[in-house]
């Protein structure tokens, strides 16, 4: 995972609410056993026609979307299936951040683990972003701020631990492995005691 500090990019805007992970990557592409190469199937059913040709009016197929690293989506993006293939596909396509007013729980978790920054902003900032597709904006992870020229910076919530991992490009497994002694201690307690609460 590459460290993330500041992401500066134009935005791609998909205003639909409740964009579920079945749309981000349809199930028929999940028979893969690797993480790479899913970018071409990102939003496949919205992006290609029945013959597999790109639909010219779909936002990701438009020339202005090329090279954009920030996706602004309607409320509750990532709901539905827990498939990590969704952030894998977004990252493989080149996205580094997802911005919305609400990001579904498991998708948010999965994104954090793949260097895809989930950014939950206030309604006013979101409304501005929806109204100004393609705007060049800046997301500063160290400051936990989304910055738009001429507006006050919009803070976004991010847990200290996730921020540390993303800023340093380290994954969480190392930390879990370092808990070995505590895990062993827990395991040695009889299940009775553990489960009775």
């Amino acid at each position: 995972m590459k460290p993330i500090t500041v992401i500066r990019s134009r935005t791609v805007v998909m205003p639909s609410t409740n964009i579920d992970t079945d749309q981000i990557i349809p199930a028929r592409f999940l028979t893969t056993t690797v993480k790479e190469g899913l970018g071409k199937s990102l939003f496949a059913d919205w992006r290609y026609d029945a013959d597999g040709r790109p639909k010219p009016d779909f936002i990701l197929n438009r020339p202005e979307s090329a090279g954009c690293r920030i996706l602004v989506a309607g409320r509750n993006i990532g709901c539905g299936s827990s498939r990590e293939h969704a952030p894998w596909a977004l990252v493989d396509h080149g996205f580094q951040a997802i911005v919305s007013t609400e990001i579904a729980d498991i998708f948010r978790n999965n994104s954090l683990k793949n260097g895809l920054l989930p950014v939950v902003v206030d309604e006013a900032t979101h409304a501005w972003l929806l109204a100004n597709p393609g705007a060049e904006i800046e997301i500063d992870l160290a400051e936990a701020q989304l910055r738009i020229d001429g507006r006050d910076p919009a803070p976004f919530p991010i847990e200290a631990f996730s921020r540390y991992c993303l800023l340093n490009g380290v994954d969480e497994l190392g930390y879990l492995l370092s808990q070995d002694a505590a895990i062993s201690a827990h395991e040695s307690v009889a299940p009775d005691a553990r489960r009775s609460g």
Binding site: D22, Q23, D45, I106, A160, F161, L176, Q179, E187, G197
Partner: protein, 468 residues
């Protein structure tokens, strides 16, 4: 006096290896890790790349369900699996389980089935456990008073390597369901009505606890249907306090505690329900006695109306308009006019024996309407065997429906069991997202009773017409 605690808090605190701090999330121990062919390959690869072992093979159980075929000749007869990549994924799971010492209930195992059906059947799903799986409908297991939720593949790797997860403590939401469900109204209708009420993100950040008279009156299989769809409201998990119904279900199951261990377990389990006066972060109310059979009309499970109702007229909302365009339905029209091409009875929501019995009761002595393709897929091989033992397969076949081997099948169409472009399917599964059951497929979610009644008429039908 210790302060009163919720069911969730009791299970959570008993599994904290290290508590949450300002800088770090909690480290939570996992009692049962279920895994399947679709969300595990990359996790096993990670273990291999880092030279890690599986920490607790004894707490890990694998099966195959998502991309497996449902045709008997492909499961048992050696006929080739149609989709090459699916066949490869299945072989990969076999190899991974052999290499890392994971117990696998494989293709021809009589105990194979949808991962959320077999856990309870085997009795490995138990009150007070923490249960995870790389699958969002892991919430199903919460019906037993377990804390159960779906995780991504990176987290599958974390659990394989450490038997632990990093977790931020969720908030609690009490869902108080008063009254009793009227005849012909099912647990599926109850959960669809709830999602319609609180919305598809109404549970985000919460663990739900379903409570109240209506919940206590549900059978174990009905409780699983309710908890299964907690994720459809965005919730981290759904839970129901264990009681005599839970214990009766588990008693004698192959992997439930036996003898003295059973008595000890019972004592622990009886202490789990939320204490009187325990405080939830939020509460919502629902009156079961006022519910009707429900059906979805749109492209998420929150877009739901009674089968006797009309599609709402909400023109001008672009998201609503897009859903109506996709569904080819007209706002303001009765949903009962909607035609049906396909009926699917199955999935981890409604693929258990009681669900098949309910559909068979409606279909007995009747036939599926001309032009309607009905597929019945048991949730597990055990469900299939039990259904056949009481002749349900004969009822389905006689009505003109297809009867298959178990698996996820048309719930997500990964194995080639799909709904055609533009076709309408009534499905007893849990997601009506665009393309969920096949490219361009239009899904209406409902109970097994409503699905069977609609199959007979060839359009959306109130099952109570056939249940009197």
């Amino acid at each position: 006096m210790p302060s009163p605690r919720t069911l969730f808090e009791k299970v959570w605190s008993a599994h904290e290896v290290a508590p949450q701090s300002a800088d770090t999330p909690a480290v939570m121990f996992v009692d049962l890790h279920l895994t399947h062919e679709v969300t595990s390959p990359q996790a096993f690869t990670m273990l291999r790349e880092r030279g890690l072992k599986l920490r607790r093979p004894d707490l890990t159980l694998a099966t195959m369900d998502h991309s497996t075929p449902t045709r008997t000749e492909q499961v048992f007869g050696g006929a080739p699996i149609t989709i090459d990549s699916a066949a490869k994924q299945i072989r990969q799971l076999e190899q991974n389980c052999a290499e890392f010492g994971v117990e696998l209930l494989g293709m021809q195992d009589a105990r194979r089935g949808i991962v959320h059906i077999i856990g309870p059947e085997l009795g490995v799903t138990q009150p007070g456990k923490t249960i995870v799986c790389g699958d969002s409908h892991t919430s199903t297991h919460g019906a037993f008073g377990a804390l159960a939720f779906g995780i991504g593949t990176t987290e599958v790797g974390h659990v394989l390597a450490t038997q632990c997860l990093l977790q931020k403590k969720p908030r609690t939401l009490a869902v108080e369901v008063a009254g009793r469900l009227p005849a012909g109204v099912t647990a599926k209708d109850l959960i669809l009505a709830l999602i319609g009420q609180i919305g598809v993100s109404g549970g985000t950040g919460y663990v739900l606890e379903y409570r109240g008279e209506a919940i206590r009156a549900l059978s174990m299989e009905e409780r699983m249907t309710v908890c299964n769809m907690s994720i459809e409201a965005g919730a981290r998990a759904g839970m129901i306090a264990p009681d005599e119904v839970t214990f009766d279900y588990l008693r004698g199951r192959p992997r439930a505690p036996q003898g003295a261990a059973w008595d000890a377990a019972l004592e622990r389990w009886r202490a789990l329900p939320s204490d009187p006066g325990a405080v939830f972060d939020k509460t919502v109310h629902l009156d079961a006695s006022a519910l009707e059979p429900m059906i979805t009309y749109g492209t998420n499970p929150g877009m739901v109306v009674p089968v006797s109702g009309r599609i709402p007229a909400r023109g001008g909302d672009p998201v609503f308009d897009a859903a109506m365009k996709y569904m080819g339905l007209v706002p303001g029209e009765p949903i009962g006019d909607a035609p049906i091409n396909v009926v699917f009875v199955g999935s981890c929501t409604n693929g258990r024996l009681s669900d098949l019995r309910a559909a068979a009761k409606v279909l007995r002595g009747r036939t599926v309407a001309a032009g309607v393709h009905m597929l019945v897929v048991p949730g597990s091989q055990s469900v299939k065997a039990a259904a056949e033992a009481e002749g349900l397969d004969e009822i389905f076949r006689a009505a003109g429906a297809e009867w298959r081997e178990s698996g996820c099948s048309m719930c997500l169409g990964m194995n080639g069991d799909t709904v055609g472009k533009g076709e309408y399917a009534i499905s007893t599964s849990n997601r009506n997202f665009e393309g969920r059951q096949g490219v361009g497929a239009r899904t209406l979610l409902a109970s097994p009773e409503t699905a069977a009644a609609s199959a007979i008429r060839g359009r959306v039908t109130d099952p109570r017409e056939f249940l009197s």
